[in-house]
């Protein structure tokens, strides 16, 4: 998926259909448009409310040919609709020369096209995944609609995952509505608390997060380490050595591990072929002895880090690494050199780990996030649930619900009027 670069600061959005299509009943259109918006509400806390008058976030119009925005429609076929990204207002225009239909293989399905256009209204660009709703080409009527994982990851990277804990409003929610804070459990084997420097962190294809250290691995819960861990890496991933340099799971569902000059590919816990192989063969242009690797949420491409440099790897391109790489890590504002690990966490944020500390990266601002307490923060407390680590006591005393424990609660979506923002004090 690809993000345009802007998003709404609020999650409760309003819309208005200011010009209806000529061939469909208004009630039917209202229902299809509501269904199309609901596609984006299912996996996020976004809500969409229809208004019939007054200012709204997203205005919808069915128009033909030149309609005032300098991008005229072209009659039946060709361009079906277009929409503006949040920074340009979010409006969605549909070519009324099309034969818009509802639940029929004839004509052009309104629901499918509207759901796609509202993706743009929310900040998504076109995806190069043909199965994604945000792919640019109309696929014809699909009787059963299911949002692709690519689209789901895209929208959650902008607006977070669904919390279901309360309905967000433009006002600050009363503190009584906050989920209760549960002190994290301390792992039984607390060696990770004494030395929280890790080798690598990655998400599995099923969304589980694992931390590797030496010849052991830890399965993380939302607030600490799952009971029964650490375990031996050789037990969880037969054939894989300890002291891994870097790892990531790609969108093909396979996990890649890097150590020294070699790499291994796994499908779940099974080695996916004859490994190890040389990094120089499978990842042309990427150096050996890596520090960290991740699939960045901003564009879905693979990034490798070593020393003070980083490389972008796109398997679909030839060559997969552009000549302009490596580039200095200082391009990632606030991220230090000589990293230990990098991870796009399940809440959509990107995290960088070095020594016993970690940094949360704001993908849209392209800088380390500003928050209270500030980054870097101690990994032991925030990721492994350890107590009595430097600065963890103060955090616990304040009962700050900052992630990774309560990721959605700490979403900082801006400070403008009407924005949805929670801090440890609010």
């Amino acid at each position: 998926y690809a993000l345009q670069g802007s998003r709404w600061r609020v999650k409760n959005l309003t819309y208005k259909i200011s010009k209806y299509p000529k061939r469909l009943k208004r009630n039917d259109v209202d229902a299809e448009i509501a269904r199309a918006f609901a596609v984006w509400s299912e996996d996020t806390d976004l809500t969409f409310t229809r208004k019939t008058s007054g200012p709204v976030h997203i205005e919808i119009k069915f128009v033909e040919s030149e309609h005032g925005d300098g991008d005229p429609f072209d009659g039946q076929g060709g361009t079906l609709a277009h929409a503006f990204f949040p920074v340009f207002g979010g409006d969605a225009h549909f070519d009324d020369a099309e034969l818009w239909t509802i639940g029929s293989p004839r004509g052009t399905n309104l629901f499918q096209v509207a759901a796609h256009e509202f993706g743009h209204s929310l900040g998504l660009s076109h995806s190069d995944q043909s199965s994604a709703l945000m792919a640019p080409f109309y696929r014809g009527f699909e009787p059963v609609f299911k949002l692709d994982e690519d689209d789901k990851a895209a929208i959650q990277s902008l607006y977070g995952r669904k919390t279901n804990q309360y309905t967000p409003t433009n006002a600050y929610p009363p503190s009584t509505h906050r989920p209760s804070y549960t002190p994290p459990k301390v792992p039984l084997d607390d060696s990770i608390c004494k030395d929280s420097k890790i080798d690598t962190l990655f998400n599995s294809a099923h969304g589980e997060t694992f931390a590797f250290k030496g010849d052991k691995y830890y399965k993380l819960t939302t607030d600490s380490v799952e009971e029964g861990y650490p375990q031996l890496i050789s037990k969880g991933w037969p054939g894989l050595p300890g002291n891994i340099d870097a790892a990531f799971t790609y969108k093909n569902g396979k996990t890649y591990f890097f150590k020294g000059t070699q790499y291994w590919r796994y499908q779940g816990s099974q080695m996916d072929g004859a490994y190890p192989k040389e990094i120089s063969e499978g990842f042309t242009g990427i150096p050996d002895h890596l520090d960290a690797a991740m699939v960045w949420g901003g564009n879905g491409k693979i990034y490798f880090f070593k020393g003070s440099k980083f490389w972008r790897f796109d398997p679909a391109k030839r060559p997969p690494v552009k000549a302009s790489y490596p580039k200095p890590i200082s391009n990632w504002e606030g991220v230090p050199n000589n990293l230990d690990a990098a991870l796009k966490y399940t809440n959509g944020y990107t995290y960088f780990f070095k020594g016993d500390k970690y940094y949360r990266f704001h993908d849209a601002r392209f800088a380390v996030d500003t928050a209270t307490p500030p980054f870097p923060r101690p990994t032991a407390h925030w990721w492994f649930g350890c107590k009595n680590t430097p600065s963890s006591t103060a955090v616990g005393d304040n009962q700050s619900n900052d992630e990774p424990f309560e990721p959605e609660m700490s979403e900082r979506t801006g400070s403008g009027a009407g924005s949805y923002q929670l801090t440890s004090n609010s």
Binding site: G78, L80, H120, H126, P136, Y138
Partner: protein, 87 residues
């Protein structure tokens, strides 16, 4: 009126320009002769890569067929146009 499918080089050039693979000036057929070959081939390759086609750099039948499909009017390559400068 039904929109004609993309079948000529000029139509393909306008298509590639409209969806962000070529600069906006290519939308004017009078300027089409000024397009250098490298830019043209790169644009086709980029489109083919994005659309999951074989990357041939040529305006083959498969590429023209995909260009003729109904689609969203938003550019595939946001930020590559002349309205936004590269940092």
């Amino acid at each position: 009126a039904q929109m004609a499918p993309v079948s000529t080089t000029t139509q393909a050039e306008m298509y590639l320009s409209q969806f962000g693979y070529l600069p906006a000036s290519a939308r004017n057929p009078a300027n089409s002769g000024l397009q250098d070959k490298h830019t043209w081939v790169s644009a086709i390759e980029e489109f083919q890569s994005f659309a999951g086609l074989n990357i041939t750099g040529e305006l083959d039948e498969e590429t023209l067929k995909l260009m003729s499909l109904p689609r969203c009017g938003v550019r595939d390559r946001v930020g590559t146009g002349d309205s936004r400068a590269k940092r």
